[in-house]
């Protein structure tokens, strides 16, 4: 099938108006030997055939009844109205709202998203979105080098390993050096040449850091070093202290937990916030409130575009153009649906269920919880046999936790377990049972 609305007669008529004999004549600028004979691709499919074919492929992915896997992508409940709103085609078939007066609907929604994120994080300003948490962190790192004019970045262990990789890739492009360190070593290593310290909390292993303490130590040792916090599941902000209250300079997060389905890891949402004084170094789109030129009504418009690539070209603060607008709309609707009561309720339930599972697992002989700091909805478990635990989970139709040796080969037989409000008591009991049965099998080599 195709989606061209012309019939043959119309095409002939249009060719006559143009004054050419056939469509081929319109490609006369292309050297003859560059014209492709025929693409070696399958014949087109009708809608029912296409749907059947795609459904068959989708069935080759396993869908479980319950999940214990997180590690940067989370199963949270998505209220039905989220998909309802993002399915309004006035939103999803539009593009970046360049023509403000004809795009007041989306512009207001983005302004409300910026407001929502500022309130949730208590940071001064939020942009309209980045691609995802990892690229938001990489852009934050680059932004700190633009602010400070320094070319050295420190990262604390415990940042999502894939995020570390992305930051490395971006920084390599601009000859920015990177040091990965621990909290203990950090204070001896920090010096005046460091643009920023990047850290994650709750971190990849589940630990919630005492940020106030960390900030205090860094500020004493290196007053000009900026602090950048990243978070992979910001639903915890329903309960824990927001970054704006701990003097963080730039806060970024992966917003997939806010009403966006896992979808094999993308699209997600890069949440990007900062202190107001860094506004003009921010990457990405910003929507501002303004007034009519010759009138009194208020409206919304893309603003501070002098930072952006389409105006500034190579002098822009970033090359980003298309972002993740529809995902930010989903996040806005999700956060509104939840409201303050729902956000607190969800975060509380994540804390409680993880705590419940942690205490149960910790009591099974052979299992040990490795976290010593408080945790949110993820924690590390040393197991007698990770492979056996994974096998037993699959037997019970549970998506198994992360075998953390995927990223840290030295951490054998260790699971990163994630549990959210989506895990019923039954699924938790099934997981505990899987862990008990998995006791006596052989260990990861």
């Amino acid at each position: 099938m195709d989606f061209v609305p012309h019939d043959r007669k119309t095409i002939t008529e249009m060719l006559r108006v143009i004054g050419v004999a056939d469509i081929e004549e319109l490609f006369q600028d292309i050297p003859k030997d560059l014209i492709k004979e025929k693409l070696d691709l399958p014949t087109g499919l009708s809608e029912p055939d296409l749907f059947r074919h795609m459904e068959e492929i989708s069935r080759k992915n396993k869908i479980y009844t319950s999940s214990f896997l997180g590690a940067g992508c989370y199963y949270h409940y998505i209220p039905s109205l989220v998909d309802f709103v993002i399915s309004r085609s006035e939103f999803y078939t539009s593009y970046t709202p360049y023509q403000a007066e004809a795009s007041q609907g989306y512009l207001q929604a983005i302004y409300e998203y910026q407001t929502m994120i500022s309130r949730l994080t208590q940071m001064d300003i939020a942009n309209a979105s980045m691609y995802d948490g990892s690229t938001a962190l990489a852009e934050a790192a680059i932004m700190t080098t633009l602010i400070t004019n320094k070319k050295s970045i420190f990262m604390l262990e415990g940042i999502h390993p894939e995020y570390i990789e992305v930051v490395k890739t971006y920084c390599w492009g601009q000859n920015i050096s990177i040091e990965i360190t621990t909290e203990d070593k950090l204070l001896n290593q920090l010096n005046e040449d460091v643009a920023a310290l990047l850290f994650q909390s709750p971190n990849f292993f589940g630990d919630i850091e005492d940020i106030s303490k960390l900030v205090k130590h860094v500020r004493e040792k290196a007053p000009n070093c900026l602090l950048v916090q990243v978070m992979t599941d910001p639903t915890c902000l329903g309960v824990i202290k927001p970054p704006g209250l701990t003097d963080i300079d730039i806060f970024v997060a992966e917003g997939q937990s806010f009403g966006i389905s896992p979808s094999f890891g993308g699209p997600g949402l890069g949440i990007f916030t900062a202190k107001k004084k860094y506004l003009r170094k921010m990457p990405g789109r910003l929507v501002g409130k303004t007034k009519e030129i010759n009138g009194t009504r208020e409206g919304f418009i893309l603003t501070l575009q002098a930072r952006e690539q389409h105006i500034r070209r190579e002098k822009a603060s970033s090359n980003i153009c298309t972002n993740q607008a529809l995902c930010s709309l989903a996040a806005l609707v999700y956060l509104l649906a939840m409201g303050r009561t729902g956000l607190k309720g969800i975060a509380t339930q994540n804390f409680q269920k993880a705590h419940y599972l942690k205490s149960k697992i910790g009591k099974i002989p052979g299992y040990k919880i490795l976290n010593t700091k408080p945790t949110y909805n993820e924690f590390l478990v040393k197991c007698p046999s990770i492979d056996s635990l994974i096998y037993q989970c699959k037997q019970r139709n549970l998506l198994p936790p992360l075998k953390i040796s995927k990223y840290y080969p030295q951490m054998k037989n260790t699971a990163l377990v994630c549990i959210t409000e989506m895990n019923s008591k039954d699924s938790i009991e099934a997981f505990i049972q899987a862990a008990q049965v998995a006791l006596n099998n052989k260990a990861e080599g």
């Binding site: 195709d2 989606f3 249009m14 108006v17 143009i18 319109l26 050297p31 560059l34 492709k36 025929k38 070696d40 749907f51 795609m54 459904e55 069935r59 396993k62 869908i63 209220p79 006035e90 078939t93 970046t96 709202p97 360049y98 023509q99 007041q104 609907g105 929502m116 999502h160 992305v166 890739t169 390599w172 601009q174 919630i208 902000l237 309960v239 209250l245 389905s261 979808s263 890891g265 699209p267 303004t290 007034k291 009138g295 418009i301 575009q305 090359n319 980003i320 153009c321 298309t322 607008a325 956060l335 409201g339 009561t341 309720g345 339930q349 804390f351 269920k353 705590h355 419940y356 019923s424």
Partner: protein, 478 residues
């Protein structure tokens, strides 16, 4: 005075709404035992809004917005074509939308990613693909980092990139992000790359290559494309193809055959995935064999044991995004390619060019076209010679008054008061004729009633907004 705007934050009620929290079915502990008080927040300044209020709010906002489903969206270089509804349904299948990126039983996703790489390889002529980049500009960055790595690996220092002045703004911005400096090349009077200037620029020795979009942003296919890529190659450089304008080339002509080494595609343009109000997009890049080892990791490769994911290729530039890319967007594009097939894709290229030339011929009767020759997917008119000093902005705002969206304005920068028009293949003749009728009417208004243009728009929720005020006193949230 009461504002004309009602934000959703004003719709809260004083009631503890908990519609979306499942019942707590386990024994609960005192939260203070789980987490120290000092780490907790006191309040969340977000209202509790009843569901009906949220729904009505966003339905109202949607009425103040405009999409491809509303009408023609002739935004040049953005390829605002119809987004097939079947692709939306497919993307929402649980076997795609509910899959975790780190789960082991993912053969469906892996197969899809592998297959679309092969399809895109056939469409562009390239050997290796990565689907990780989340948008066109992200693909550009990845592609340029590959260039950088390639030369680093060969032990050759290359620090500059040639970019024509007609290029998309992302090109120089991406080159800068990859650590290159820019040599800007002035287009000649035909709107093409001047070969002698290119030759001169390349002779510097430290030039890594060129970034080019062809057809360019004037909608012109550069007749000397083979000579251009030849000159760059002869001087040890690589050629990067900005695929933002690939739509008219579908099934007609492939970037590889033009002599390019790296190409990015915008799945949200050429392959009909929704633009979403500015994303999510997807910007896969394809490269020739020599550059494949430098692609971002992980890569999917075919082995005797089926498809496997290769985590590290040794020479790779590393990761450019977490997980696999914007998979949900890739699923839609894959479905689109399967729906159209070879024949359908060829028809896309042909009809996109037919529609653009039809509009060009009809609009040139009143408007000035600085480069008036057969175009490909788009063409550019200028506000030069408009009666009564009517500007491009005036024209654009008046277009909105007639219930349709305006073209890309003031771009490319090389044309005074540019209006860049790309109708795409999915606009009917009636729709194109209506656009021409409106444009002609606006021209007459410019002559006889210029005030109505200068004060446009008149029929929208707001009159022309003050961009200067917005930037001078930024109000970014309530």
């Amino acid at each position: 005075m009461k504002s004309n705007i009602t934000l959703i934050f004003e719709k809260g009620i004083d009631e503890e709404l908990q519609n979306y929290i499942p019942e707590m079915d386990i024994e609960v502990a005192d939260l203070k035992e789980i987490i120290p008080q000092i780490l907790l927040r006191n309040d969340i300044p977000i209202p509790n809004v009843p569901e009906i209020e949220i729904v009505r709010h966003f339905v109202k906002l949607s009425h103040k917005n405009y999409g491809v489903d509303t009408g023609i969206y002739p935004l040049g270089s953005c390829t605002m074509k119809y987004n097939p509804k079947i692709c939306e349904s497919i993307e929402r299948l649980p076997g795609f939308s509910q899959v975790h990126p780190l789960q082991e039983e993912n053969q469906g996703s892996i197969e899809l990613l592998y297959n679309i790489s092969k399809f895109l390889g056939e469409i562009t002529g390239m050997d290796g693909f990565t689907l990780q980049p989340a948008a066109g500009a992200h693909g550009e960055l990845a592609g340029l980092l590959i260039m950088k790595k390639y030369f680093e690996h060969k032990g050759i220092k290359k620090e500059k990139i040639v970019v024509p002045d007609s290029a998309h703004g992302t090109n120089p911005a991406s080159a800068k992000m990859a650590g290159f400096s820019i040599i800007e090349l002035k287009s000649n009077e035909q709107g093409e790359v001047p070969l002698d200037h290119l030759e001169y620029a390349m002779q510097g020795g430290d030039v890594a290559g060129i970034m080019l979009t062809n057809p360019n942003t004037l909608g012109i296919f550069d007749r000397h494309i083979k000579e251009i890529t030849q000159i760059v190659h002869n001087n040890g450089g690589l050629c990067y193809y900005d695929g933002a304008n690939l739509n008219p080339m579908l099934g007609i002509c492939r970037p590889r055959d033009m002599g390019f080494d790296i190409v990015h595609l915008n799945l949200h343009k050429t392959f009909a995935t929704p633009h979403g109000g500015g994303g999510p997009g997807s910007g896969p890049i394809g490269v020739i064999n020599d550059l494949s080892p430098f692609l971002p990791e992980p890569c999917i490769i075919s082995t005797e044991n089926g498809l496997v994911c290769k985590e590290s290729a040794g020479k790779s530039i590393g990761r450019i995004k977490s997980f696999w890319g914007n998979f949900g967007v890739i699923v839609r594009a894959y479905a689109y390619i399967l729906a159209l097939g070879a024949e359908g894709l060829l028809r896309v290229g042909k009809i996109a060019v037919l529609n653009a030339n039809y509009l060009r011929i009809l609009l040139q009767q009143k408007y000035k076209l600085p480069y008036n020759r057969i175009c490909q997917h788009e063409f550019v008119i200028s506000d030069k010679n408009m009666p009564n000093n009517i500007t491009t902005e005036d024209i654009a705002k008046r277009i909105l008054d007639y219930g349709i969206y305006a073209p890309t304005i003031y771009f490319p920068l090389i044309i005074q008061g540019a209006l860049m028009i790309e109708p795409t293949e999915t606009e009917s003749k009636e729709s194109l004729d209506y656009f021409v009728e409106i444009m002609n009417k606006i021209y007459e208004e410019a002559k006889e009633n210029p005030e109505i243009l200068k004060s446009a728009p008149h029929n929208l929720p707001v009159k022309r907004l003050d961009a200067v005020l917005a930037a001078r006193k930024p109000v970014l949230h309530d």
